[in-house]
């Protein structure tokens, strides 16, 4: 049974609290128990608590499958890009290197690539993926377009990405804030302690000098 085509996966990094519930729940999956297929990283913990969760984006034309010499990566008719097929995968790592989102991982001990398959065992029987079910801030959301539009008026779903000359469209959507400047995050307490309001939109790891150096603490 395929994943219902009216249900979609949305990642909203702005909501991520870095709690790792998704990662812990992913290890409970019946197809890869004990291993998480989710990537959850701090952008730069010294400067912010911002974290970003990444599941497989399920590309319409998956680069991983295109570069696979063994034809081990299949995309199902409902748009879900599956983990490598065990009999075919030669653990060459081409997919790992090629994926523009950095999703596939090579399990050297088992000589296989594994990645998120959008909990196909759950989504194909009408359940939500495990990560999107448990996510306490709903940074990972699984539902209809109508639901996401109604629930998230402050951001819009994006599923077209540019990597150099490569344009990729994906089944998974990233929620992007509609008005970036008004909702820039707080990154350094010192800015909030200052009597003069500062621009909070500090680009992480880009500014060499302390942008709040003149603020007395």
């Amino acid at each position: 049974m395929p994943k219902p085509d009216y249900l979609h996966f949305f990642i909203d990094p702005n909501r991520c609290i870095g709690c790792q519930a998704c990662l812990q729940a992913c290890t409970e999956c019946d197809t890869h128990r004990g291993e998480s297929m989710i990537h959850l990283e701090y952008v730069s913990r010294p400067e912010s608590v911002q974290t970003v969760p990444v599941v497989c984006m399920h590309c319409d034309q998956p680069t991983c499958a295109e570069v696979c010499p063994a034809d081990a990566i299949k995309r199902t008719g409902d748009g879900v890009v599956q983990s490598a097929r065990k009999p075919r995968c030669i653990a060459c790592g081409n997919c790992v290197v090629a994926c523009p989102f950095g999703v596939p991982e090579l399990y050297e001990d088992r000589k296989i690539m594994m990645k998120c398959d959008m909990c196909y065992d759950r989504t194909s029987v009408g359940k939500k993926p495990m990560c999107a079910t448990v996510c306490p801030s709903q940074a990972l959301f699984f539902g209809t377009r109508e639901q996401i539009e109604q629930l998230r008026p402050l951001s819009k779903p994006v599923n077209t990405f540019h990597f150099g000359n490569q344009v990729i469209t994906t089944q998974v959507h990233i929620m992007v804030p509609r008005a970036l400047s008004s909702r820039a995050p707080h990154v350094d307490v010192v800015a909030a302690m200052s009597e003069q309001p500062r621009s909070r939109a500090v680009m992480l790891s880009v500014v060499d000098a302390d942008p709040f150096a003149e603020v007395e603490v």
């Binding site: 709690c19 519930a21 409970e28 079910t133 402050l154 307490v189 010192v190 309001p197």
Partner: protein, 757 residues
């Protein structure tokens, strides 16, 4: 004498904390569960619904429970991995006695012999020193049935006034303030009321890590137009994207609230009609606030004037609002005043008792709410009754079948109880669900007290860090091995369901209490055959009290997916029996009837009016000074819970955040010459701790943060101060002066202990 029987490292070798992991049937992808048991998480006060996968007598995994309305399947990492606390190598499956000749310091003995020894020691001590020489410590992770029975056990069976519980470290500041202001102690609205409100003010709550599910409610409200104000010395995940961040200096919250209210008064952002018709005492509060002009408030709180002004404007001009607070403003020697300060902001706005407007304290422990209502608190009797009130005493004595004169009076708070041990007034201790060696401030003092006890019996499922000092340890039950009720953060009573049987000689905690009563030859009132029977008596005991559970049944909880108290069996107005009272999701609605006000108003005082109370600012005890110039504050991380007795034994959670670190701003780190990841030593008047530094811009440069879940030399409570709020007796965990330096060397433990130990 009850000092640690052998070198602690030997105790750790035998009893852990060791790590559980996914192995065997818990790792297999082909093993199907026999059944799914709908229950709740065993950890925080959110009490998320969860289904446990059970095979044989083992919990092998979980499945989200999407129908439960509060969390709809959502869980934090602790909830996801909670099942790994079962079938654990550290699990106590026999009774233990202290045995210095045993390599591990303890040896097993038959359960009945252990209970007989407990009864013998209690009898001996009480005969020699009187009934009050025995004390009892309980906890708010117990079901309400157990907390009820424990309170009754202390007073009726042991005849001692000295019982208190670990909610003393958690909910008491909020509780005391709520009672002073509203006459009742419960969050006012269900969380679903939050979505659609204009402003949400989060005061001192790291929501994303301590009550993760609440994050979704707050952020859903924001999506729909709410402005979010967060008051915290750290940019926590929920502060990162808030609309207004108030970087308050630790311990200055009451000043902040008074200053903001002063702006609201000056600008006339007040609900005069509400203040006139539904409250009392506004004038004295207004007079106090005059001491807090903007410039002084900014100076004291460390929050800039522009931010205070913005907060006052948003709060003052909102049409609907929610205010939440948690331990950040409550864990202070000024905790009650801080909480009263928030309540004054709410009352001045008139936004309470309405669908999109409310106020609440985010409880910390599973049963932080229910555990403080039914009698394990030193001054309380079931139904939120007062142990000093003659009428309340008579009623409960009647339910318990004793003469009112036999019922002991008020005892003392948990920390004072240790001081009584230190002074030799208390000689024997029974403790359950409490780990003061990790959780009480200045825990070197706690160790000294434990060593002075003539007899100490601990009931637990793992040998916690305090039980090292025990003479006898009785093997109790895990959450999934018993049934009962818990009252979660919204005041919703929910049902915990049993999934598996206790292993070995371990048994349900209420049975252990009854076994001791039997062995003491005082079985009257302790012959319950099930938690349901205890609950039926609790319904009667709570009837007519403010926390009235009389209309609650296990069936109603299951059917409605929770019941909000008060839930009456008789109409409080007419006295007519009502079989189907649905409970009270929202408190203080206009025109609502309650048994205290009797129709004169919505609040729980005879005149039906809420009370403004001056929320006075007092500087913290042991504040930062020349010698100790930095503020030390403490708190939680998302993957650990309380003293870590459970979560430091769950492998995947330990892996997530293995050991405590000292969080500091890069400016402070630069001044001290400490780089990220280096060993740093923090020192206060009580002690020192050496941990790795975590250098981040998300904390005030004058403040360091250390999470408190670890034991021994990794315990930040070696450093905290035993100063307490004069009313609530909550310890001041959230601030004290400290100094920090680069460590001379790695601490000794680093080469010996695993991270969680």
């Amino acid at each position: 004498m009850a000092d640690v029987p052998v070198d602690p490292i030997r105790i750790i070798e035998r009893f852990g904390p060791h790590l559980s992991s996914m192995t065997g049937e818990r790792l297999s992808t082909s093993v199907e569960p026999d059944r799914l048991v709908k229950t709740h998480c065993c950890f925080c006060g959110q009490q998320c619904g969860i289904q446990l996968k059970v095979r044989g007598n083992e919990v092998i995994g979980f499945e989200p429970w999407e129908e439960f309305p509060f969390n709809r399947g959502m869980l934090c990492p602790k909830g996801v991995k909670r099942y790994l606390q079962g079938s654990h190598p550290d699990r106590l499956t026999t009774a233990l006695r202290r045995d210095t000749s045993s390599p591990s310091g303890f040896s097993s003995l038959p359960y009945d012999d252990a209970v007989a020894r407990v009864a013998g020691e209690i009898t001996r001590i009480q005969q020699a020193h009187g009934p009050a020489a025995i004390a009892v410590l309980g906890g708010a992770s117990l079901t309400t049935e157990k907390t009820y029975l424990l309170g009754k056990f202390a007073r009726v069976c042991l005849k001692t006034p000295f019982i208190d519980y670990n909610g003393r470290l958690c909910m008491v500041s909020a509780g005391a303030a709520n009672k002073k202001a509203f006459g009742i102690d419960r969050t006012t609205n269900p969380w679903s009321d939050m979505v659609g409100t204009d402003v949400i003010w989060v005061a001192g709550s790291n929501v994303a890590e301590c009550s993760p599910i609440t994050t979704n409610y707050i952020w859903q409200a924001r999506e729909q137009g709410a402005k979010v104000i967060v008051q915290d010395p750290r940019i926590t995940p929920v502060a990162r994207t808030c609309d207004l961040y108030l970087p308050v200096k630790p311990g200055r919250d009451a000043a902040l609230f008074a200053g903001v209210l002063q702006i609201m008064i000056e600008r006339d952002w007040l609900d005069h009609d509400f203040i006139r018709d539904y409250t009392a005492g506004f004038e004295q509060v207004a007079e106090y606030c005059r001491e807090w002009p903007l410039a002084r408030t900014a100076e004291v709180t460390g929050v800039p004037q522009r931010a205070l002004m913005q907060a006052a404007e948003w709060w003052g001009t909102a049409r609907t609002s929610f205010l939440f607070h948690a331990r950040g403003i409550e864990h202070h020697s000024n905790g009650v005043q801080n909480s009263l300060g928030t309540i004054n902001l709410v009352l001045a706005s008139g936004r309470i008792g309405k669908p999109k407007s409310g106020y609440g304290t985010i409880v910390g422990q599973a049963n932080g709410q229910g555990g403080r209502e039914h009698g394990q608190k030193c001054d309380q009797l079931p139904g939120l009754r007062d142990i000093s009130n003659p009428e309340h005493r008579r009623y409960i004595a009647g339910v318990w079948g004793i003469d009112e004169r036999e019922l002991p009076g008020p005892g003392v708070d948990a920390y004072e109880l240790f001081r009584k041990i230190d002074r030799g007034e208390i000689k024997g201790l029974l403790s359950i669900c409490f780990n003061p060696m990790v959780s009480l401030p200045d825990n070197t003092f706690v160790a000294r007290c434990l060593e002075k006890l003539e007899f100490f019996v601990a009931i637990d499922f793992f040998l916690n860090d305090t039980a090292w000092y025990a003479d006898i340890v009785l093997p109790g039950s895990l959450h999934e091995e018993d049934e009962g009720t818990v009252t979660q953060v919204e005041g919703r009573i929910i049902k915990i369901n049993k999934a598996v049987e206790c292993p070995g000689d371990a048994r349900q905690d209420w049975r252990i209490m009854q076994d001791i009563a039997q062995a003491l030859d005082r079985p009257a009132g302790f012959t319950f055959a099930s938690p349901r029977e205890i609950f039926e008596e609790l319904r009667v005991a709570s009837k007519g009290g403010v926390a009235d559970y009389s209309g609650v049944t296990y069936e109603k909880i299951t059917q409605q997916l929770g019941v909000f108290w008060p839930c009456y069996s008789e109409d409080p107005e007419t006295g007519a029996p009502i079989a189907d009272h649905p409970g009270t999701p929202r408190l203080f609605e206009r025109g609502s009837y309650n048994p205290v006000a009797r129709g004169s108003g919505p609040f729980y005082f005879p005149d039906g009016r809420a009370r403004f109370n001056v929320g006075e600012y007092r500087p913290p005890v042991d504040d930062a000074n020349d010698e100790y110039p930095i503020y030390l504050t403490t708190g939680r991380v998302v993957s650990q819970f309380l003293s870590g007795t459970q979560t430091r034994r769950i492998g995947p959670l330990v892996k997530q955040y293995a050991e405590p670190r000292i969080e500091m701003h890069p400016r402070l780190a630069a001044k001290l010459g400490i780089a990220d990841g280096e060993w740093a030593t923090a020192e206060t008047g009580r002690g020192t701790i050496t941990l790795r530094a975590q250098v981040v811009t998300t904390i005030r440069p004058d403040t360091i943060f250390i999470p408190y879940h670890w034991a021994g030399r990794k315990s930040v409570n070696q450093l905290t101060v035993a100063a307490q709020d004069p009313i609530s007796k909550i310890p001041q965990y959230k601030v004290c002066g400290c100094r920090v330096r680069k460590a001379d060397a790695a601490p000794e433990y680093a080469a010996i202990l695993e991270p969680q130990q």
